[in-house]
């Protein structure tokens, strides 16, 4: 198993770099299908932006750490921040899209997107923060959520 380790300042303008590095790592042999790379880019963006926002007030001078784990049957990416943590199950559900009230909500899609785009995701408290671990399986026949 190979690992790729990336440390970034807690700044949102680094997200494009994270997307590029993680998707490039996931395209290494054996590559994830291109369609699943789209899933990965979006899921990583959502998780990493949450991490940066939580981390920055607590440890502005410390990096957010992104670790890619290239395993034979899956690709896993861990994002570690030093934020105060949160309970993903405590997030309130958005109104149905047919409900006019839905337009009152501009946020709240990040965690649901991560859940639907990945094959597994965990949110684990660390000693001094949170580790979000997202896994995408490698089977050739795996269909992307984002595949038309």
């Amino acid at each position: 198993m190979a690992e790729i380790h990336l440390e970034i300042p807690p700044r949102l303008d680094y997200l494009a770099v994270v997307r590029l590095v993680v998707a490039t790592a996931a395209a290494l042999d054996p590559p994830l299908p291109e369609s699943r790379l789209d899933d990965l880019r979006l899921a990583v963006t959502e998780a990493c932006s949450n991490a940066i926002k939580a981390h920055r007030p607590e440890a502005e001078d410390e990096p957010v750490i992104v670790s890619c784990h290239l395993e034979s049957d899956c690709f896993r990416v861990d994002i570690r921040d030093r934020g105060p943590g949160f309970d993903p199950d405590a997030l309130s559900e958005l109104p149905d899209t047919n409900d006019p009230e839905r337009l009152q909500h501009e946020s709240g899609l990040g965690i649901p997107l991560i859940r639907v785009l990945t094959d597994d995701v965990t949110f684990e408290p660390a000693d001094d923060g949170t580790i979000v671990s997202m896994t995408l399986d490698r089977p050739d026949t795996e269909e992307s959520i984002l595949t038309p």
């Binding site: 949102l12 494009a16 789209d38 979006l42 963006t45 959502e46 337009l103 959520i145 984002l146 038309p148």
Partner: protein, 120 residues
């Protein structure tokens, strides 16, 4: 990340609708610029807007939220915000979030302008 939003003076008026063209990636870093422009246009009375996303190859939840807010503001002013998008990546994001039920999405600017007022 690049996001190109023309000044309102440069937006092409099409049948009374103002076309705003976005390009590049609309992520949490770029979305505030799009929000600022959309809010400015709507507050200035430009409440019939077409947002052309044909040059956009990535959008995240913050970008989606900006579009939701723009639709809300425009409709509150008896207008609307319609999207032009044929990129399958973006369309699937709209699909998995259910926001294809919220946004009026067309294949072209002409189709967006020609949509019935209920977005169909």
């Amino acid at each position: 990340m690049e996001l190109e939003i023309p000044d309102s003076d440069a937006s092409a008026d099409t049948g009374g609708w103002t076309v705003l063209t976005a390009t590049g990636e609309i992520d949490v870093a770029a979305a505030p610029g799009l929000r600022e422009k959309l809010v400015e246009l709507i507050e200035d009375g430009t409440n019939e807007l077409v947002v052309d996303l044909e040059g956009v190859d990535f959008i995240d939840s913050t970008g989606l939220g900006v579009l939701v807010g723009a639709v809300r503001r425009a409709r509150a002013a008896d207008g609307d915000v319609r999207l032009v998008c044929t990129n399958s990546r973006l369309l699937k994001v709209f699909d998995v979030t259910g926001l294809d039920d919220v946004f009026a999405i067309a294949d072209s600017i002409d189709d967006a302008v020609g949509m019935a007022t209920d977005g169909s």
